[in-house]
Amino acid sequence: MTATGATAKPVSPTRRALGRLRRNRAAFASAVVLVIFYLGAALAPFFAPYYYDDAAELSYCPPMRLHFVDETRRFRLRPFVYRCRYYFNQNAERVFYEDTSTAYPLKLMVRHGDSRWDYRFLGIFKTDLHLFGVKAPGRIYLLGADWMGRDLFSRILYGSRISLTVGLVGVAITFVLGMLVGGIAGYAGGRTDSLLMRLCEMLMLAPGFYLMLALRSALPAELPSTQVYLLIVLILSFIGWAGFARVVRGMVLSIREKEYVLSARAAGATRWRIITRHILPNTLSYAIVSVTVSIPGYILGETGLSFIGLGIQEPQASWGNLLAEAMNVSEIRFHPWVLWSGVFIFLVIMAFNFLGDGLRDAFDPKSLER
């Protein structure tokens, strides 16, 4: 307990909850992982050695090893990769091998000098600086290449920009919509309440993924990628807000009976102000948790749509359509590295779930603090 004396430093409930959160190791580690991922997404063009659409003739080149010791057994401080070559075996399959005669040392802060691949750093200034790379014509494939010889690592980084933000943007829309509808329904009650809640129930009735498919197929298939992105976000939040609104409404029903709401009314506060200032903030601790827990659903929704080809289209990358390459068993057998995006999806989903759990425990007033 904090001291009640006037000299005690006021500790906001949020602050205290965050303190509890920090002590939860799994949640804290998850938060760190997520920060790294989102940083990666924000700075994708910089971290990625190649543009997502930068194809080469090395189709399905396997992940390359970084070497420190060269063929003369000399240790080099600067890691390097060998040139990747291939031949066709008797089954007409490509067999890749490292050409030890040509080594490409890894360079930091490289420029390709090709204006095709310029990007805007954080959307501010134009540059073609990359964190690392090798000198052309050498190529570096840390996680292997896809069928067009595009660097999977770069594509995963670029894909994360879509897959990771879909969750946040979708959840933001859901949050605003759910709070608003739940708040109004709960506070107004009566007919407004029934009307809004029946609407929510109708949305919740339809199985989510099918509703998503139906919505997507009802809309034109050939769209510019930014519009597809927006569409997916809208579809996802359109499906997601109903459940959230219902729970918010339930909480509002109990909070509106509190005396401070009555006293706010007696003080002449407007309805809007009572809902937004007195009622909804009291649902916030729940709402934040609920929203965090639901982010994975959005990520999986986008991934699912893209996986079956209704979401982000080639050549744009998203974790879903990257994974779509692994749809075929023979693909997995011969080039297992196409599964990498699945690993990232797994990590992010796990991280969000751990974080959500941690947040829930941290904000739960019943959780004991020693």
Binding site: P13, E259, L262, A266, G268, R277
Partner: protein, 332 residues
């Protein structure tokens, strides 16, 4: 006599229940003069809280005001639209509640809530509003006010919280303050402080006060006039000195009898037999007759009107003149 600042006429307030309507107030009239403190007294369930809420048109749904009027500053509040009503609440007529700990929003600091009370009715800069909040807290005698403003309600004691509530109620200088059991949830010593504070503030501002309470001790200390309520009806109204010496309703006499005294008053401390009637089964005739020691056959049949029984003393009892106090043991 000056025009009363508030006059409630024949208020009828009902709640629906199992197809019927239960009347929480049936024909309650009261008036409050400028600068006057009026007490509304009654047991739990007598309808005093609902009556006070109706003055601000805040009867909680599904309850509703069926008829009557509330004339405040020349307007019938029950005829105002939502915006006009909102402009009255807090600005002209403010209210404080029984439970200070639940009347403050737990997620905001005290300061932001006082500031909000100011900003709800006046457009001043946030900086000025904060300064005014500070002044208000000082006025309700909260020590270290500047620091308190930054604290959350749970960091304050009950008495401090009630002071904050009072500060918020006074934020826009209302002419009438309704205090619904302002001290019930507080310790006795704190009660005295709060009452003293209210008294002082009333003197300074010249506002009127309506104190709702079941504690006749508070009435004796603060109020000038009293309304006694029973089963949704005003059963007696008169000045406080009058009621303490010559109650003219057996119910009031019973209430007085139930107050412990240090002065060795004759007559035992004894409760009124029975309980407040359930609203679904209000007795016929005088609603108090099953518990009344004066009850006669007429009481079961005819509901007594509130009538002038003495100068400036109204009572709703057929036998107002025969009410004796202290109640002697021979009567039962």
């Amino acid at each position: 006599m000056a025009e009363p600042i508030l006059r409630a006429n024949e208020l009828v307030i009902s709640f629906p229940a199992e197809g019927k309507r239960l009347f929480a107030a049936c024909g309650v009239s009261l008036d409050i003069d400028p600068g006057e403190t009026v007490a509304l007294v009654g047991e739990s369930g007598s309808g005093k809280t609902v009556t006070s809420l109706s003055l601000l048109n805040l009867v909680p749904p599904p309850g509703r005001i069926d008829s009557g009027e509330v004339i405040f500053e020349g307007r019938n509040l029950l005829k105002l639209n939502a915006d006009q009503m909102r402009a009255v609440r807090g600005a002209r007529m403010a209210m404080i509640f029984q439970e200070p700990m639940t009347s403050l929003n737990p997620v905001f600091t005290v300061g932001s809530q006082v500031v909000e009370a100011i900003l709800a009715h006046e457009s001043v800069s946030p900086r000025d509003a904060w300064q005014r909040a500070l002044d208000l807290l000082k006025r309700v005698k909260i020590p270290e006010a500047a620091q308190r403003l930054r604290q959350y309600p749970h960091q304050l004691s009950g008495g401090m919280q009630q002071r904050v509530m009072i500060a918020m109620a006074l934020a826009c200088k209302p002419v009438l303050l309704i205090a619904d059991e302002p001290t019930t949830a507080l310790d006795v010593t704190v009660q005295a402080e709060i009452l003293e504070l209210l008294e002082g503030l009333k003197r300074d501002t010249g506002m009127s006060m309506l104190i709702i309470t079941h504690d006749l001790g508070i009435v004796a200390e603060t109020a000038e006039r009293i309304y006694v309520m029973y089963a949704g009806r005003i059963v007696e109204k008169c000045s406080v000195t009058e009621i303490l010496t010559h109650p003219m309703h057996p119910y009031t006499a019973g209430l007085l009898q139930a107050v412990p005294s240090l002065e060795g008053r004759s007559g035992k401390l004894r409760p009124i037999p029975g309980t407040v009637p359930n609203l679904a089964a209000v007795p016929s005739g005088c609603p108090f007759h099953p518990r009344c020691y004066l009850a006669d056959s007429i009481c079961e049949r005819v509901e007594p009107p509130l009538r002038k029984a003495a100068s400036d003393h109204w009572s709703a009892c057929h036998f107002a003149e025969s009410v004796k106090w202290p109640i002697t043991d021979s009567s039962s």
